[in-house]
């Protein structure tokens, strides 16, 4: 079924009897060409790209819970390509280009909204670092510009310009950045993949790998053994757990990141704003909630929930930056399990086990990567060569000393 405004009108007039399932609920087949473990954004985008771009349709996505229950369903939805390092920026810019055509590709309105992002700076040193970054963006073909204090006053007049502990000196803005509807992205990919023949199998947890002679031949699951020529793992916060079943230790720690939404409000905040002197960033969802977040709680966790000090820390930042939000109320807070890598950058690579591929280490930034990550992982699975934008994301970069460390904090995941 094709979605369109016309279709909505037609169904409205005929009692909505014509809508069909967004995707099927197939039972697993005995074997697939490719199994993707993890029905999050990256797994689904990988399956979609395998089918849509590489013509590989005998594919299953195995998801242990309900589709989209992981980080794709709980992130603060920011998409941007404003990275510094050459290992990263072209990849995220590729992703941004894919976002820009996503609804048309998928025939699903995932509400990609390019309302812009502003990263504020508060010192000259920060400004210089942003200039270096903004230039890297331009060199990769992305957009970006430095905003003066005066320009900021125009765009975001509600910021605390006059009584701030850390005065706002300006900002780096990327206009093509913005947000996308988190759930919609998962559903759009799932539906589009399903339409191209991919089996999406929910409530199917992978509990082990089948190996023969150093080669993976399938997976054990809570719904039985399923054979596969190739297995791609894209399980985000569960990366270490799943790869341990293949005997691998990863340069990854799992941490909790909290996010927050306020009660619904009339439009207040135009795009995304990021505080440069505290842990706070915010955008407003189309429903009206202020969606905001800050920093990791800072300790290893698989609990999908965090502590009160972080709540306070984030909202202190929010109040310092935009005191006009004070009379809004926090509606809900939640947590997600972040696959924090040792340099803050992801891994998309083959493993030392034939037929087993890994995609993970996305930290708090993998939502924006979803389309490109799916593309690059599908490329790797289909061709056994890294996608040109993902060449830096290899396992061996740690041992070789070729880390992609945007923040420059070294092998301490909770600082990335």
């Amino acid at each position: 079924m094709k979605f369109s405004g016309l279709r909505v009108v037609k169904e409205a007039l005929t009692g909505h009897r014509g809508w069909t399932p967004l995707w099927r609920n197939p039972d697993p087949k005995p074997a697939y060409d490719v199994i993707i473990v993890g029905g999050g954004g990256h797994g689904l985008a990988t399956a979609y790209t395998l089918a849509a771009t590489y013509g590989i349709t005998n594919v299953a996505v195995l998801e242990k819970g309900w589709l989209g229950s992981g980080n794709i369903g709980r992130n603060t939805t920011i998409i941007r390509s404003n990275y510094l390092l050459p290992g990263n920026q072209p990849f995220y810019e590729f992703s941004m280009k894919l976002w820009e055509r996503q609804e048309q590709d998928l025939n699903f309105n995932s509400m990609v909204s390019q309302r812009g992002i502003i990263n504020l700076f508060h010192t000259d040193g920060q400004r210089d670092a942003y200039r270096r970054r903004g230039n890297a963006m331009h060199l990769s073909g992305a957009d970006g510009r430095l905003l003066s204090r005066e320009e900021l006053r125009e765009k975001v007049p509600f910021l605390n310009f006059d009584n701030a502990r850390f005065p706002i000196k300006g900002g780096l803005m990327q206009s093509r950045a913005g947000t996308a509807r988190h759930d919609g992205v998962a559903w759009g990919y799932a539906r589009a993949a399903d339409q191209r023949g991919v089996d999406i199998i929910q409530n199917c947890e992978v509990t082990g790998f089948r190996m023969e002679a150093g080669r993976v031949t399938g997976v054990e699951t809570t719904r039985g053994t399923i054979g596969a020529n190739k297995v791609g793992v894209a399980v985000a916060g569960s990366s270490s757990r799943v790869m341990a079943m293949a005997g691998m230790r990863l340069p990854i720690e799992s941490h909790v990141l909290q996010a927050f939404v306020s009660e619904g409000l009339k439009p207040t905040i135009p795009g995304v704003v990021t505080f440069g002197a505290g842990h706070f960033y915010v955008s407003q969802s189309d429903k009206g909630g202020l969606v905001f977040g800050g920093d990791l709680d800072g300790y290893n966790s698989y609990a999908q929930r965090g502590g009160l000090p972080t709540v306070e820390d984030v909202i202190e930042g929010g109040m310092a930056l935009m005191p006009m939000i004070g009379r809004a109320r926090l509606l809900r807070s939640w947590g997600g399990i972040m696959d924090m890598s040792m340099d803050g950058s992801p891994i998309i690579d083959r493993t030392h086990i034939d037929g087993l591929y890994f995609n993970g280490g996305w930290c708090y930034g993998g939502f924006k990567a979803t389309p490109a990550s799916g593309y690059a992982f599908a490329h790797l699975l289909a061709t056994d060569t890294p996608h040109e934008t993902a060449r830096a994301y290899r396992f061996d970069r740690f041992a070789r000393g070729l880390v992609v460390d945007e923040k420059g904090v070294g092998a301490q995941p909770n600082l990335h």
């Binding site: 340069p251 720690e253 799992s254 300790y299 040792m342």
Partner: protein
């Protein structure tokens, strides 16, 4: 969270700075053959278990002791805490 400090009793976890897996206590021998590979494992690789985890916390806003805290990363329940001083002394004897 509350960290059960072996000397000071339960303390607000905010007084502490978290470092990570307690395997960071086991710095490899820099002179052994293959030291570089051993250091790479030591610096970069983690078990990252979902469950019991021995981890390092520093009582930064307290007595500045490094602690090994044993904590369940799924429930956040704390099963014990020791001073690194005592852990190291134990390892030696």
């Amino acid at each position: 969270m509350l960290i059960p400090h072996p000397l000071l009793g339960p303390r607000d976890a905010q007084e502490f700075t978290y470092l990570g897996d307690a395997t960071l206590l086991d710095r490899p021998d820099p002179d052994a053959p293959g030291a570089e590979a051993a250091f790479c494992d030591y610096v970069f690789l983690r078990d990252n278990p979902a469950g019991v985890h021995r981890e390092l916390w520093f009582h930064e806003q307290g007595d500045r002791s490094w602690l090994v805290v044993t904590r369940d990363t799924v429930t956040h329940e704390i099963l014990g805490a020791e001073l690194v001083r005592d852990v190291r002394a134990g390892a030696r004897t």
